[in-house]
């Protein structure tokens, strides 16, 4: 049935390319969103905003100098409070970072042999902000190093950031838009398309041929994967050339997560199309599922800004993990090793939803 499979892939690609609506909604919309949000919020040099408390235990000349430099660091807003309060608000996600300059910092700076140390507390669970935070601290310290010493670095930062590039809002936004694109293309796209094909008896007509449902679904998946990969690539290219967004991680890893996201949301789309009582209700149901996901999936703003009770939900659903994974790879060069949590949660979602989709698939109207 190779012949049928190839024809189905070809047909789906042609249908996609020729249907103006699907084309506009799935490609122009993300690009438009990126440009609109990027111009409105991204600004030219506006940095990603981090709320930070700096605790100076040393109170020496050099420690004060460091604190001043950090306060002036781009994208950093400092909140003055006691160490205890600072750590408490960090736990509550009200702060993204607490920097502690320990006692003896000044002495260490003055000494030739000892290295001065600062401690950075941050939420390890939130990969993107922690990496950005580390990058900003590292950058500031690097500057001071260069200023006070000619060659040898005098201050070391305990937690080393992987990425030392400056991240802007666009860097944050583009992976989110990719995740949104993958979700809406597949969940909403598949649910609407399958339901409409069922309504117009297109599926029943195919059921009247020796075509197997397995071949049909395989053709659908292949075509949609191709479409999504090309779209993701176009979005990244536009983001790169207009907003200077870079992919710091491996393209292979990025591709893997695009595929995994596509397959997961496509399976959920198939389930929605199968379970909807009437074909007309499939699209609204898919919308009802995906719309809230837009806001709690970390697409436009970080998940940490959401209230506590939503955090559990966010951890359970696939969209947040897809955004985290894409953001990790694009912004911080994350690898499979550092993306274990999103990887396994997405894989589980895919396997479960694919199984349910395969079991509930039907050609005709109930």
């Amino acid at each position: 049935m190779m012949k049928a499979y190839l024809q189905l892939v070809k047909a789906q690609l042609l249908l996609f390319a020729r249907n103006k609506n699907s084309f506009i909604w799935s490609l122009l919309l993300p690009v438009f969103m990126m440009i609109a949000l990027g111009t409105l919020l991204g600004g030219d040099n506006e940095q990603f905003a981090l709320e930070v408390s700096i605790i100076d235990r040393d109170n020496s000349v050099s420690s004060k100098e460091l604190v001043q430099a950090l306060k002036k660091a781009p994208g950093v807003t400092t909140v003055d409070q006691s160490e205890k309060n600072a750590l408490a608000s960090l736990k509550k996600n009200e702060l993204q970072m607490v920097i502690v300059v320990p006692r003896g910092f000044g002495t260490a700076m003055a000494s030739k042999t000892e290295k001065a140390v600062v401690t950075v507390y941050q939420d390890q669970g939130n990969l993107s902000t922690s990496k950005i935070g580390t990058a900003i601290v590292a950058g500031t310290i690097d500057e001071i190093n260069k200023k006070i010493v000619n060659f040898q670095p005098r201050i070391d930062i305990k937690e080393k950031g992987i990425s030392t590039h400056q991240l802007k809002y666009m860097d944050f936004l583009v992976p989110g838009i990719l995740a949104l694109l993958i979700m809406s293309n597949n969940l909403n796209g598949v649910a609407a398309q399958i339901a409409s094909w069922r309504e117009r008896s297109i599926l029943r007509r195919m059921q009247g041929t020796p075509l197997s449902s397995g071949t049909f679904i395989a053709g659908q998946m292949t075509a949609r994967i191709l479409i999504n990969v090309v779209q993701a690539f176009v979005v990244i290219l536009i983001a790169h050339f207009i907003f200077g967004v870079n992919v710091y991680g491996s393209w292979g890893t990025l591709l893997f997560f695009v595929l995994l996201g596509t397959l997961t949301f496509m399976s959920i789309g198939f389930i929605v199309a199968s379970l909807a009582k009437t074909p007309e209700s499939a699209s609204p149901i898919a919308g009802l599922i995906s719309f809230p996901m837009m806001f709690i999936g970390g697409i436009f703003f970080p998940v940490r800004q959401l209230p506590d009770f939503l955090q559990i939900v966010v951890q359970a659903i696939p969209i947040g993990h897809l955004t985290t994974a894409l953001r990790g790879v694009m912004n911080n060069g994350a690898t499979f090793a550092t993306l274990q949590v999103p990887l396994w949660i997405l894989l589980t979602w895919f396997i479960v939803s694919f199984t349910v989709a395969a079991l509930t698939f039907r050609w005709d109207v109930k």
Binding site: L14, I202, G208, T209, P210, L211
Partner: protein, 303 residues
Amino acid sequence: MIQVQNLTKRYGNQTVVDHISFEVREGEIFGMLGPNGAGKTTTMEMMEGLRDSDEGKIKIAGVDAKKQKKKLKQQIGMQLQSTSLFDYLTVRESIELYASFYPHSQTVEELLVAFDLVEKEKTWVKHLSGGQRQRLAIAIAVVHDPKVIFLDEPTTGLDPAARRSLWDIVLKLREEGRTIFLSTHYMEEAEILCDRIAIMDHGKILALDTPRELIRQLATTSRVEFPLIDRAYDEKFSTLAGVKKVVRLEKNLIQLHTDQLAETLQDLIPLANSYQFPLDGISTRTATLEDVFLEHTGKRLSQ
């Protein structure tokens, strides 16, 4: 070619197809005539293996349609009531897609020529006329050169010219030796196309024969119809020469069934004169399948 025995389908406590049995002979056009909701489509979909029946046996070209669905689908071709084609594929692409589902198929060129679609091969299905779309649907039904073809109301919604050209195509398919099972609610279509007709209503087959025989079996051969609101004379009509039956149709139409048309009319005119009722809109005709349907179901097929 096709044997159906005791076929039954229920939805909840409603029986949509009620223990029907019939045979379709090889090479004939077998018509199922009935109004919407009579159970025609459900019957066809059970025969096509698209719907499970609750009771009964279906055998098509030696294949058990309920148990050997995969084998059945190689043997039969079908056109469904709704268009069921992709709007954004061209005629050629649609044929190629369906051809790929079968191990062997006719060439696209042969089909384009046979169904008069050569000029439209690069047109999207979306932009085809109703007639062209139905021709394509039937071309796709025979893409794998099947012995048996199911056509579900193939000319519904078509204009008269498109309907005639589709009839030619169906007749040509019979010439090629195929067995055709078609459903319709057009009496004229059944009369012109079908070798034999099953009249169906409320899930039951009420009569089954050749069109000529069905008409011949009617008690009377002619009909006289005219509008008359006043019901006072209905009894008098039955005493007119040759009249065997007086029927009140909808819209205050009265219908006289007669074997002696001329005599009936000769009696009718003086009657109308003496009681001062107009015979405006009077019509006479020989009995048709429509009357056969009316006789069996008590209602008209086309409204």
